[in-house]
């Protein structure tokens, strides 16, 4: 019997390790020969742990599997009460366009043979036959923009580093995925680590960098472990080292672990942290592309940006660019989170409306109550009410509605949610995580909490003060932490004024 049980953090947090052990024990007890693969997650988190069994050459899914469900997996087959049918045909999977996540959930994450058999290294092989400018041109032409949230064109960043003259250059992968509602970086690293490694090697070829770092947050122990093992395997097989795949190019990767500072997801504070310093934001210019790690030209890219490069190089810039809308080209792995009936990862071309994502893909709330709002883009993203659900998913489209898509995490909340409380939390979080370098963020966030508390106590005169404070933070902060915290605060205030007035009535 060939079976798959995910090693993904979400599956493990829901009991996948115990389920895998129970399947192994049950197979031994029955004398059934078992091939058990620990795969990445398919992204259907509401079905985790999702066990797959190969039946007549097709992978059938069963989930969510508890220990009590395990014996019947051996007896009932397709009639099992948790059977969902062929996984690839499930509406959640069939509706997606998986480019970045093409292999995640399908392959054994640490098997190079499996990686190769599913299109791995096609991009790198092609890149090895090209010059630096050719690779940069393909990435630029693909329209790929920074998936970490800022949306800066990846190819232009690479060109700056490629053109810079220096004795050393670096590729830094930002895997400090600290935004609530985002887990795509984690899933990619756990489910297809060689894809990230391949993307980083290509970035090295394109820019002349020979050293890469993956800076992973400490809250991701499984991703750290998988990436460390994948780098060792890649080194042992000549993918990394002095001669990448036998070529004249050298590239080495080191895995670094963060230490619980949210602000280190900001690229300049990440670089300071990598250098062994406090994670304090640097003023720009100089751009990291010219003076980054140790003052050398450095590409800082998000996990998803780098992991998307292999398929662009394999299939061509035009293939990728043909997906999407406007200036948002290609696909985006949506992360449906919070109070969602169907939560998980859904990769699709840009352009779906927010309402389609919330009502049709997420299926509304898990609690069955009306969706009150959706926070798009993590803790620094705006809350969208139903009246804005016609907004198409794209960088400019969301900016036009005073929001952002960020890393494409979506937190659904139901109608019992107090938006004043959420606004207060945004300020509180900013105060806890501020690096302290600039005043609007460091002091503004503390004053923000106090001001919202005044509003909660019925002091309506504090409302204009809050708006004013947000304007100061937005335009006066050095980085997105202080600069974007006003997004959740002001959107809550703008779209849900009743939540800010209700307390006043209570006080009177």
């Amino acid at each position: 019997m060939k079976t798959w049980v995910p090693l993904d953090s979400a599956a493990v947090a829901l009991g996948a390790d115990e389920v895998a052990a129970a399947i192994t024990a049950e197979a031994a007890r029955r004398g059934v020969p078992l091939e058990l693969v620990r795969n990445g997650s398919r992204g259907m988190v509401w079905l985790e742990p999702l066990v797959e069994i190969e039946i007549d050459g097709t992978r059938h899914g069963f989930g969510p599997i508890t220990l009590a469900d395990v014996p019947a997996l051996f007896d009932d087959g397709l009639a099992h009460s948790k059977a969902i049918g062929p996984v690839a045909d499930h509406p959640w999977m069939a509706g997606q366009t998986r480019l970045t996540f093409a292999r995640v959930g399908i392959t054994d994450p640490l098997s190079l043979d499996d990686y190769r058999a599913h299109g791995g290294f096609e991009g790198l092989t092609r890149a090895l036959g090209m010059d630096k400018a050719g690779i940069v041109k393909d990435v630029t032409d693909s329209g790929l923009r920074g998936r970490g949230g800022a949306g800066f064109p990846t190819g232009i960043k690479w060109k700056t580093v490629s053109d810079a003259v220096a004795d050393r250059k670096y590729i830094v992968c930002n895997a400090d995925e600290g935004d609530s509602a985002t887990f795509a970086d984690r899933m990619l690293m756990e489910g297809d680590p060689f894809c990230l490694i391949e993307g980083m090697v290509i970035a090295g070829l394109a820019t002349g960098a020979t050293k890469g770092f993956v800076y992973i947050r400490s809250e991701y122990p499984i991703a750290i472990s998988i990436m460390q093992r994948a780098v060792r395997i890649a080194r042992d097989h000549g993918l990394l080292g002095l001669s990448v795949l036998g070529s004249a190019h050298a590239f080495e990767i080191e895995i670094r672990v963060g230490a619980g500072a949210y602000v280190c997801g900001e690229e300049t504070s990440l670089l300071n942290s990598l250098e062994g310093k406090r994670g304090i934001v640097r003023a720009k210019p100089p751009l990291p592309a010219l003076q980054g790690f140790m003052g050398k030209p450095t590409v800082v890219n998000n996990v998803l940006s780098l992991a998307t490069v292999p398929i662009i190089m394999a299939k061509g810039a035009g293939f990728y660019r043909d997906f999407g809308i406007g200036r948002s080209r290609g696909t985006m792995p949506l992360q449906v989170a919070g109070n969602a009936r169907f939560g998980g990862l859904y990769e699709v071309a840009f352009g779906l409306t927010l309402g389609h994502i919330v009502d049709d893909i997420a299926g509304g709330t898990a609690t069955g109550r009306p969706v009150k709002a959706v926070q798009v883009g993590g803790p620094l993203g705006a809350w969208f009410p139903r009246s804005l659900f016609d907004t198409p998913f794209g960088y400019e489209e969301f900016a036009a509605k005073d929001g952002l898509i960020g890393h494409a995490g979506l937190t659904l909340v139901d109608d019992r949610t107090d938006m004043l409380g959420m606004a207060r939390f945004a300020m509180e979080f900013c105060a806890v995580e501020s690096c302290g370098k600039c005043t609007p963020c460091r002091i503004g966030a503390v004053r923000g909490v106090e001001t919202i508390d005044r509003i909660a106590a019925g002091d309506a005169s504090a409302l204009p003060l809050l708006t004013d404070l947000c304007a100061t933070m937005k335009s006066g902060s050095l980085c997105a932490l202080g600069g974007f915290t006003p997004y959740p605060v002001l959107s809550a205030l703008t779209h849900f004024p009743d939540d800010f007035a209700r307390a006043k009535e209570a006080a009177e």
Binding site: T182, G258, G276, Q335, V336, G338, G343, L345, T411, V413
Partner: protein, 159 residues
Amino acid sequence: MSATQSLGAAEAETLHAILASHRGVEGALLPILHDVQAAFGHVPPEALPIIAADQVISLAEAHGVMSFYHDFRAEPAGRRVLKLCRAEACQAMGADALADHARARTGLDWHETSADGAITLEPVFCLGLCACGPAAMVDGKLLGRLDAAKLDTILEGRA
């Protein structure tokens, strides 16, 4: 050196082995602090001057780095460490009520360790388990779809 003596010979040897293993590493301070904490359970204050000297930075700089990051502890944690996610996606699934329950049950507020050293309560802002909240990490083990009953089972050591 008195600081080395107060560490104890075995501890000093461990520390120097950690420092030696990071020779030539670019920006080694965070990897060193992680290894020291893994070895000792915290970063002993008496280790910091030795680390600073090794990295050719002042004690103030070393302290500045260590205290900047939430992960590094100057004192040992409890025998069990309960980290509850407080971020938005988990809040949407009732993390606030779960946190209130945990605080009431343990009698601890955030960052506190019980007097008998049994348990430490920490907030965490996102474990990347945002589609299966509320989430937690207990003694390094990830947990999703947590509720008060499951949490009690864990706190009582029954799971």
